[in-house]
Symmetry: C2
Subunit: 284 residues, 2 copies
């Protein structure tokens, strides 16, 4: 079968053997935003041409959003493999889209994810997962089902402040500065709130107390520190891109949280399992 | 004399009579960022041509920053009229630049202002002042001196999220929506932290629970709510542009804080008083 992670800006395909092991990989900058309306089938066929006989094809990520191939409505929490498999959408014979998951917090405000549910469930572990990124996800899994989750806009806020605010104008490119990052994490626990702490990036620079080349590390520590403190878990599982998981692990350690890093191939394992469930459904 | 408020993006000049009353006003989009290096005297002379015999000229705002006419170093808190008058810089005969004010919070992180010190001291009141804006200032005045203050990047964070983030992409222009603004203020007190609450602007929109035309009001309420909650004053004095002061007043009321609106001409009064102090200094 073929497992596909089709997100906003990238496309990744994995050919799996009958035991679920990855035998070949393809990736391309063909995220859904680059696909013209009605063009999804053509892009998919072009990308997986050498494997075109393989079925089923199971796809997760933004390909199932309103802007994707087909909108696969969110499955409400609690959501595990059975609920997600039951809500998959077949876009053409043997080609399936995995739905996202939604929940509401105690105050009734909705939250959503698409793609991360596959990574989390593929880890086959209960616990609190953190998936850092543009929109970081904190996901609680109980008895094999996603019980609840919340999103923090940390990565995107970092990017827009760096590219478009007065804070970015004083930054110079530099390599990651571990000391400035830790200072930012520490600052996140001091009084004043995030909107005040952000201005400190500028004033510390003005006063010669923060190098222009270290300012982005300080800002990153500040934001990640605020994110982790808002959740305040005693421990959590880290699942994501290695350099970002490294930063979150450091920030968590500075805040006294224990973390365990998981490998990031769990998404493919979950898609394999969903593919097997489909086959069972077809045969029954 | 002439009082001038010369900021980053605008220039405002006031001709004052011998009692400090405003007899004429000029304003132009000639902020310091639009002035070429070495060009400050020429821009000033052009703007105040009809009043060119008047002296002294007293200027406050970013004209005294590193990017301005001359850098007038920050005066540390506590700072009142005597400390500020003593640190004014004469850029040419009879033309003076007012310095900004700096302080450090309990954790040693610096903060700065330029221009707001004049508005606050001109009000001739003790108390906690809020000056909302791109970089909002919260200023505590005791016995006629600025004792301490802190800055929140609320206005700039609002602007960059609206113009450059995924939140802005789903917004449509609409008139201010008081209900959505109040919902945002209320949300700011719920668990999860600002970085999580921001994502709610998107998810509420996705779920059809927030109109595209009301989303910017909700975001504004969320950010202003977080700002005021970080200070949590029982009451404060509001000094600033009327429409923004109105929003802060509404948010404060929703949070159970009392506010008093002050008129925004206090900056000119302070510059007049500094001008009188200069004259006294010259005569003594």
């Amino acid at each position: 079968m073929i497992a596909i992670d089709w997100g906003t800006t990238s496309f990744r395909a994995y050919r799996l053997d009958s035991a679920g092991a990855i035998v070949a990989t393809r990736s391309a900058p063909k995220g859904i935003l680059s696909v013209p309306a009605g063009g999804f089938a053509a892009v998919l066929d072009e990308q997986i041409r050498p494997w075109k006989e393989e079925r089923p094809i199971v796809m997760s990520g933004m390909v199932g959003s309103r802007q994707g191939w087909v909108e696969a409505p969110y499955v409400p929490c609690p959501a595990g493999f059975p609920e997600i498999a039951a809500a998959m959408r077949e876009v053409r014979k043997g080609t399936w889209v995995v739905p996202g998951v939604s929940c509401r917090d105690d105050c009734g405000v909705p939250d959503v994810m698409r793609g991360e549910e596959t990574q989390v469930l593929g880890a086959e572990r209960d616990g609190l997962f953190c998936l850092p990124g543009t929109h970081s996800k904190w996901v609680e899994v109980r008895a094999g089902r996603i019980a609840r989750f919340s999103t923090a806009m940390t990565g995107e806020v970092y990017a827009v402040l760096k590219s478009h605010s007065i804070l970015g104008r004083m930054m110079e490119e530099g390599k990651a500065n571990a000391r400035a990052f830790r200072d930012g994490v520490e600052r996140s626990g001091e009084p004043g709130g995030l909107l005040h702490h952000l201005f400190g990036v500028r004033t510390k620079g003005l006063m010669g107390e923060l190098d222009a080349a270290a300012a982005s590390s300080y800002l990153s520590g500040l934001l990640i520190g605020h994110e982790i403190r808002s959740v305040r878990p005693p421990s959590f599982l880290l699942l994501g891109e290695p350099s970002l998981a490294e930063l979150y692990g450091e920030a968590a350690a500075a805040l006294g949280c224990e973390t365990e890093r998981l490998d990031a191939t769990s998404g493919t394992r979950a898609l394999f399992r969903l593919g097997v469930m489909l086959r069972g459904k077809e045969e029954s």
